[in-house]
Symmetry: C2
């Protein structure tokens, strides 16, 4: 008989683990995401124009796009203050802050 829910083999476990890690990495993958996160780590919260001036090499499009992805993945929160001119603040979520330990491990490995 062929099981509809076969026992996961060691190979399956390993491959799934690699896949999950890749998924995790994909959330911080992007030309300017680390730079964005670094600025938010340091300042707690930044409005859009500040980030723009802080990372001048990044185009407006990429900044917006990366911020949207970071927001979608729950690493960054976006707050719009209803006023003119518009004002939007980005800050790290708890999950975003939890990345510190990952970066610490990575930095240590890198040294």
């Amino acid at each position: 008989m062929i099981r509809s829910h076969p026992m996961p083999s060691d190979a399956d476990e390993r491959d799934l683990c690699a896949e999950r890690l890749r998924e995790a990495l994909s959330r911080i993958d992007g030309r300017w995401k680390l730079a964005i996160l670094a600025h938010l780590f340091e300042s707690g919260s930044q409005r859009f124009s500040k980030l723009e001036r802080a990372i001048p090499q990044a185009s407006q499009k990429m900044l917006t796009q990366h911020l949207r992805e970071l927001e979608r993945d729950g690493l960054v929160s976006r707050t719009v203050y209803p006023q003119v001119p518009p004002r939007v603040e980005y800050r790290l979520t708890e999950r975003g802050n939890a990345l510190k330990s990952v970066f610490a491990a990575l930095d240590q490995w890198n040294a």
Copy 2:
């Protein structure tokens, strides 16, 4: 007077740090690198054909290419046994093994 070797500002430090982290990440970035590393973590050492069968979704080209990059970056060592048919073994270097702590941190964050 304009210094030829200006003191690095906090901003410079941060940006450089982000750059270094990105460089570190780039070494494990690649569609199949994590899968390769996972197999090597588990088995210690694998020959090319074994990896090929273990990761059938990856094309031969990508497997070779990623292995070359992992070797160039000092994560994996490549040993050729001069015989016919040829036999090549890949194994993790110390630096490659040291990635375990990074993956552990990443996995914990991911949970």
